[in-house]
Assembly symmetry: D2
Homo-oligomer: 278 residues x 4
């Protein structure tokens, strides 16, 4: 299990979101409150879109804990981005190695995940076989999460993310049940193409990991007129997080079970999510 | 702050002590109960004496968490030793790097430590200057712990460990107070020459980190006649640990404040410890 | 491309073979003479059989260069073994990560390789699908080498190593040619079960990487009566290496093209090797 | 010994300088032509000034070889800077660890070095004692290079770089000779405050490592009117490098022995360098 956050809005120094808040993501790497485990020390990653390169987001990933990583600290202090993902990993068994660290990337797309495929060891082969052969050789690691990403790509992530994730989730559940696993899927995941962010919360058992989105900035400004930070960010700035950062009352709303949210220029939306086996 | 253990007795596979027990040291790397912090994920080290090389103990140290390190797992599964040290680190601020991982070694001697010199940043120079110039260039890292080791070596560790450690502690307290630090020293530390082990518990404030030694094996055997493990180890087998392993009632005794114990062939001993400034 | 060595014979401190010789394997990590590249700095591994654990060999693998790795230096100085493999890696494109470092292990078996499957990226999926589904989920990395190992295991490595390696090589060639690759395979590889060592030299083009075996110890003793080392090792001691160590005239013989050797108690043997597609 | 480059001029994607050129710095990490050693695989660092943070440059440093580091590749592909340093390390004996990787930083200042203090092990203590006590505790590693940086800071680097480096060099020579070392210093080093770059070439023996500066851009444009790259960079763009990148005839000039150059807005300069013992 893991923790993650997705930021979209006014370009900010990564530090503002990654380290500065009370109970920041970096603090969660040592002291998660809502996670299955309190320590998320099995690697980390941050992916950001930079104006210098519009083809792909940049990734910094490493295998040690985020809390002591000096390169992450440097990037957070010196890089500004309007859209970034950050992830801290608590391995559910697969190897601690850079290629297993989130976010995963394909072209302009990034993907990160908290959760697990129950019994993944049993069904890894069957699931991997369903990945588009043209994509297969790009699989770089050994996690269930990356397999989910490649399945979603296979099922059309770049054309219709909600439909592709629904097909991925449905396929994982079908294959899982064929292997006798009752509740195969547990996921909170985010994908982005650099312009929009989609965040999903779902589990076969209806008991998903926590996921929150930030309140509308204009609402927060009214609630907390004295918080300088809120004056500097646009109305369309949003955060989606595994567990709340900071301590502003009224700042966070839970993403409902079996739902997904879209963050995009011009207005956000929340919809219900149903797996669709292929 | 950190956690450590020292083993001396019947040669055992390291796994038996490092991984097998309930609440093993490896488990403590994620879930310490008695430490200042619960996570000890800032590197680790194990040092063992091997019959193949009587000049120096072997060291395996690395910067990631012990809980996910595959090389540590391999060594634990394949190496047997009659005397070994193991340490998991929670940095109190100094860099997470291999040269800052315990145990430290000098010839046949090993040293490991839990605790801190308060205000070390202020007095690092003054303390380092007191290290024997012939030893100075061997200092490989930047920790207070290694400085303590080199001061103890300077003050005669290889001739009289308790006296050398008393002089080191007294010196740290004197220099600390010169820098306006009221309680400069907090330590539980162990040293060995491969034959004997000395373990010290002391703090300037009289509020030292926890330290325990195992009961006599013959006593444990009487208490727990059904525990196979106890039948296989000699009467002189001893463990000294930051916090108890396993769940055998009667197995552990606290080392008193301001004390040190000696584990040696032919009989152990516990004595009081008083710093002696040089 | 990579460099490797396999040692079998009188138990020796690993240092004696890994570091001590002129042009040792560690020296080859910086200055290979016969390899495709001179630097083999993309990770390393050493695997050894220890009397303490007869179920599996021990593995020490890491991602940095062998030449600066302190844990490798420590193990070499403190571990003795009658049979060990050592490997230094020069990646031909796949990721530098611990799970891609040789030797690979399955139960009592170890495998290491120098060479490449040409066009592996194209045929990775097809080859992986041929791996026994019961073994599939144990694949830990992403290299052509590990795929070759799992194919050989699938084809009966544990029952008949030469036949299984022949089937693996034939299968790689068949699949490669189906993908339009003219010379799909280039390999010098070694496998062992802890008692015997098999070493193969083969390439589709008949232009294989170099491979040498050491002369009979009794012959060497006659040639070099003053070399102390030779008096200490048994007649049955053998080394197989990618390129010669040391500078003893008469010490090395090239393994012929399309051949394999067996090193076993009671006598060695060299035979011709022909791939057999399955 | 090591290789490095300093870039100052039109903001460029780091990739343009670090990876793209024939015989780029990354290529030099495997195949240096002019260095004492051909392989520079003992860690690397890149430091750049970013508009987002004017207090300090950003540093990305790591212990593995530059040639396989994925985070360096990512940063090079996504970060643009008008002034950056890059360094690849070949350890002359000190530990391979992140804190020993160049560039070193102090506030706005960066420092990197190729060369060595002969006999540093002997005189490390004496040299370190000369570091300003207020700076002493910030020394993070164990190299001669970092000691040189802290000595230069002690001697006024932030006020007058050439004078401070002259005093540092003179002091190293004086202390070295007190320890019986005939030729104590060998250096090509660069320092910057983010606006100007100073690059020094000096050795006690008058046999310094190679150092080159790029020709004036207007000259290069005239020589090579068809090279697109040259049309995109300002007249004041300069590179200083341990060994030439690319293959443009007329592009490089050697920095003379016992000299230093200044690259600054409005005009560059080359002057002679003489150590001045303190």
């Amino acid at each position: 299990m893991c923790r993650w956050l997705a930021y979209s809005g006014t370009p900010l120094l990564l530090d503002t979101i990654l380290y500065k808040p009370v109970h920041s993501l970096i603090d969660q790497s040592l002291h998660s409150r809502l996670g299955v485990v309190t320590t998320n020390g099995d690697g980390f990653g941050v992916g950001w879109y930079a104006p210098e390169n519009t083809d792909t987001p940049a990734l910094l990933r490493d295998v040690g804990p985020a809390w002591s990583n000096r390169n992450l600290r440097e990037i957070a202090d010196h890089v500004t981005s309007p859209l970034f993902f950050a992830h801290i990993r608590a391995s559910s068994g697969t190897t601690v190695q850079q290629s297993n660290c989130h976010p995963f990337r394909h072209g302009r797309w990034m993907f990160m995940h908290n959760g697990a495929i129950a019994g993944f060891h049993l069904m890894r082969r069957d699931l991997t076989l369903l990945v588009d052969p043209a994509l297969y050789a790009d699989i770089g690691g050994t996690t269930d999460s990356e397999t989910m990403f490649y399945l979603a790509l296979t099922f059309g992530l770049e054309q219709d993310p909600p439909a592709a994730v629904a097909r991925m989730a449905g396929t994982v559940e079908r294959v899982g049940r064929e292997h006798g696993v009752r509740y195969p899927l547990q996921m909170t995941l985010a994908v982005t193409d650099g312009a929009r962010v989609w965040a999903f919360r779902y589990s076969s058992q209806g008991d998903s990991g926590s996921l929150f989105y930030s309140s509308r900035v204009e609402t927060l400004r009214r609630l907390h007129p004295d918080v300088a930070f809120l004056r500097d960010v646009s109305d369309q700035t949003r955060l989606i997080v595994s567990e709340p950062l900071g301590d502003l009352p009224g700042a966070w709303h839970e993403v409902p079970e079996s739902s997904y949210g879209i963050v995009e220029p011009g207005g956000d939306d929340m919809r219900s999510f149903t797996p669709e086996p292929v």
